[in-house]
Amino acid sequence: MESITDKKIMYYMLGKLSENEQATLEKSFISNPQIFAQVVDVENDLIDDYVRGHLTPGEREGFEQYFLTNPSRRQRVQIAEALSSRFGQAVTTSGIASTTDNRSVSRRLLAQIRILHTAPGLIAALATLLFTLGGAWLFNETRRLAQEVRVTRTEGARRERELTQQIADERRRNSQLAGEIERLRNLPIPQIAPSRSSSTPAIATLFLLGGALRDTGTGAIPRLIISPGLEQVRIVFKMEDGGYQKYRAELQSESGELIWRQGVLKPRLIRSVATFTITLPISKFTGGSYTFTISGVNKSGGLDTLSKSSFRVEKQS
């Protein structure tokens, strides 16, 4: 029979399994009721441990960032809070769940009561005093604990709301980014926008996408057509931000000859999309294939190549 460890199930609950591992586990617990019982057992224990504050900081983080993203799961956690508080009471006050320890405490109490029968008057007075003091102490202690529980719950609820808000913001941001990527992908490549007027030089604009933004589907190399009278080429390069303070851009010809280089380059950032705009004189382009490279300058001053984009330049007579 296949066997799955509780730890693996816990990783599943905390979103720490790979897609393959997750799919295998899902297939197992759907196909095998015993494994499903194990999964539910681990989940219930995980929820109870969270509610009772028994999770390690790492487990708690995973629990809050992954497990609690689902409303049904959050509801189960809320119910577990209630269960946890009542189960504690049931054990101590109504004796519903009598344990060995509880029984031994009862026996000790019974033994003491038997001794008390030997000196009824004095002992009854002592007992009354003890019960009164004990009752007062219990009353105060219960109030103090109830107060602590209220504070903890309010704090927990606040944390949960903050977390939910963060998740919603993150999803919204991702959704906007996905839209932006989709829009960029749909841009015609190359997009040449010649503009000519009496006061401004004629410019052709070439859009290039790098990294994850690049459309890997078509495989077509962008072309830049240089028509007579064109004076400048503007290269607009977009990629997902690499998080570097500085970038370096290079343009090389087909033969590897360095045409142009800029050592300290800062992109324009819109959300996590970095846009580099470079304007070069038309004289830099003689025709043929070119490679545009963007590198990030790392902390030690070295270069991390982030993207290489090729394009073709064709001169129109």
């Binding site: 599943y12 997750q22 899902e26 297939k27 617990f29 759907i30 196909s31 095998n32 009721p33 015993q34 499903f36 019982a37 194990q38 999964v39 539910v40 057992d41 989940e43 219930n44 224990d45 109870d48 441990d49 009772r52 028994h54 993203t69 689902n70 409303p71 049904s72 799961r73 959050r74 509801q75 189960r76 809320q78 119910i79 809070e81 209630a82 269960l83 946890s84 508080s85 009542r86 189960f87 504690g88 049931a90 054990v91 519903i96 769940a97 344990t99 209220r150 719950r153 309010t154 609820a157 606040r158 949960e160 709301r161 939910t164 808000q165 998740i167 919603a168 999803r171 919204r172 959704s175």
Partner: protein
């Protein structure tokens, strides 16, 4: 076109689980819970709806005469398909965000304590509906004792003369029943 589960198709579906329809009903419920957890684990908010969809499709195949040798594996494959369809659907992303927002608006700092008190009231009412031996079992099974959990539950199973996984099943069903009762009670309370 919407296809509706009929008595005939439900009967055929239950036959796949067990010839004894009482046992089949239990197995069906267990698989239903497993499928629901599967969708839930994949971030689907309306997981019960997807679970219904799986059973509807499987029952439909049965009526069409498809022979299903292993209902569990078959349901898993159908569930994967339903999941992919749901993820691809344009409404998926919107629903996710809306569900988050509606959940956010449902909770209010000032109401938190009142909510907790309502939950406790409902829990008490639901616990009262359980027979004493069930209350004893669920309380003992889920008591706060992380270190000795495994040995304690094993000794519980030994004492009751049942297998460890059978005990887990029993405790889970009770807990699930209690959770459902509390949810129903809270809904009723909110009306």
């Amino acid at each position: 076109m919407n296809w509706v589960l009929t008595e005939e198709s439900l009967g055929k579906l239950l036959d796949c689980f067990d010839a004894d329809h009482n046992l089949a009903g239990e197995k069906y419920e267990d698989l239903r819970r497993a499928l629901s957890r599967f969708f839930e684990g994949r971030g689907i908010f309306f997981h019960e709806e997807c679970t219904d969809e799986v059973f509807d499709r499987v029952a439909r195949r049965l009526v069409e005469g498809v022979e299903i040798r292993n209902i569990y594996s078959y349901c898993y494959e159908v569930a994967r398909l339903v999941l992919l369809e749901r993820i691809k659907s344009s409404e998926y992303r919107n629903v996710s965000i809306e569900a988050h927002n509606s959940d956010l608006s449902a909770t209010d700092i000032g109401d938190e304590l009142a909510e907790m008190e309502r939950r406790l009231r409902c829990l008490d009412a639901c616990l009262q509906q359980l027979p004493p031996e069930s209350r004893l079992l669920i309380t003992e099974y889920y008591q706060d004792d992380r270190r000795n959990r495994i040995t304690r539950r094993q000794s519980m199973a030994d004492r009751l003369g049942i297998r460890r996984d059978a005990l887990a099943n029993r405790a889970q069903r009770l807990r699930s029943k209690l959770e459902q009762c509390i949810v129903r009670c809270l809904k009723k309370d909110a009306v």
